[in-house]
Amino acid sequence: MTLIDPGSPEQVPPTPSHTVGPFYGYALPFSGGEEIAPLGHPDTVTVHGHVLDGAGDPLPDALLEVWGPRPDGTVPRVDGALRRDPATGGFLGRNGVEFTGWGRIQTDANGHWYVRTLRPGARGRNAPYLSVCVFARGLLVHLFTRVYLPGDDAALAADPLLTRVGDRRDTLIAADEGHGTYRFDIRLQGEGETVFLEYQ
């Protein structure tokens, strides 16, 4: 079936977006937010990098959410990322067995973030990628981008988004650092600005 055009006048007008900042740090991050991969899973990859502003300075107050499919390309519908202790109300942490596909990471004082998740599988016409949502003080509307993992040049060459962005495709492909670790910096503005996405 066809989705209704988001601009159609019959639709209910949406609630406007706002900045997350500045004082979300005691509310949104949670322990184990970065550790999306089940413990010891052989398809674990680590992706890390910095979030940088238009002056090249790190953002110590960015919040990232990472969402991706399983290695076989299916999408988890598993809760428990925010598992709680009913007795104390505190976070129990993930159980280390299930894969929810989603995590949330706050940058540190150097604007650095990392996530350990499962290597994403391909879906539809797309090369495998992780979806990333960026929130920060100063960002009035969050930003979506993608982390493509290098290695399968044929899949990357055929990916519909990467073919469209041309020269800027390198901002969407992580750098392989070996041992299942990849580097992906997010530049909000200016030189080397990351490609950000708008879904319609």
């Binding site: 406007p16 740090g25 509310a27 502003d53 598992r83 879906r123 979806s131 960002l139 969050h142």
Partner: protein, 257 residues
Amino acid sequence: MSLTQHDIDQEMAAERVAYAKRVADGAPVEHHPRRDYAPYRSSVLRHPKQPLVAIDTRQDPELVELRSPAFGERDITEIDNDLTRQHTGEPIGERITVSGRLLDRDGRPVRGQLIEIWQANSAGRYAHRREQHDAPLDPNFTGVGRTLTDAEGRYHFTTIQPGPYPWRNHVNAWRPAHIHFSVFGTAFTQRLVTQMYFPNDPLFPYDPILQSVTDDAARHRLVATYDHGLSVPEFSLGYRWDIVLDGPAATWIEEGR
């Protein structure tokens, strides 16, 4: 040279004029702030300069972004939606209940999805280490809540009316009282972080964060409605605020609704 409220007021007025001209020239109504809204100074170095690349989800229904992360009963506790019961004592301030429905743009409820809120205490102070507002902390109030919407997309929180607080965008800048909301939909593309405001706040015209929503009707949608029917006798006042998620949603058939 320090920026005064008058300076910021003039910048905001210029933004409103520019928006009115864009709409008069045929541009679509803007439901959301522009990321480059300069009167909110923190935005200056943090908005992309390149246009966003559009992804037509109708061409690509398999996108993982058209699914949403899942949350369930394990992710919340029974009293997470009562911010007045997180400590051993009673928090200071006026108790309020905040309730509404979570909908998509077709008016359909978003069921069983996570809503997170956070806010300052009645003195306008957050429980955050870097918060330096010269106002008291309340040892009985942290200001964080969570809930899952019900089968009709309804949510409900009990909390304290937050206070306004000063921030340093410009000299004598004050944020109107607000509650932060973090909301998930049926698709990751519908992700929303926003703020709910209280009716008749005199600070509305002065706040560049609220005024970044340049469209009058859109800005009005951020203000809750006082609803006496939601108040609890001798306990709390009631506010109603429905949330409508933008962005492509998971298709009806796929969700089995």
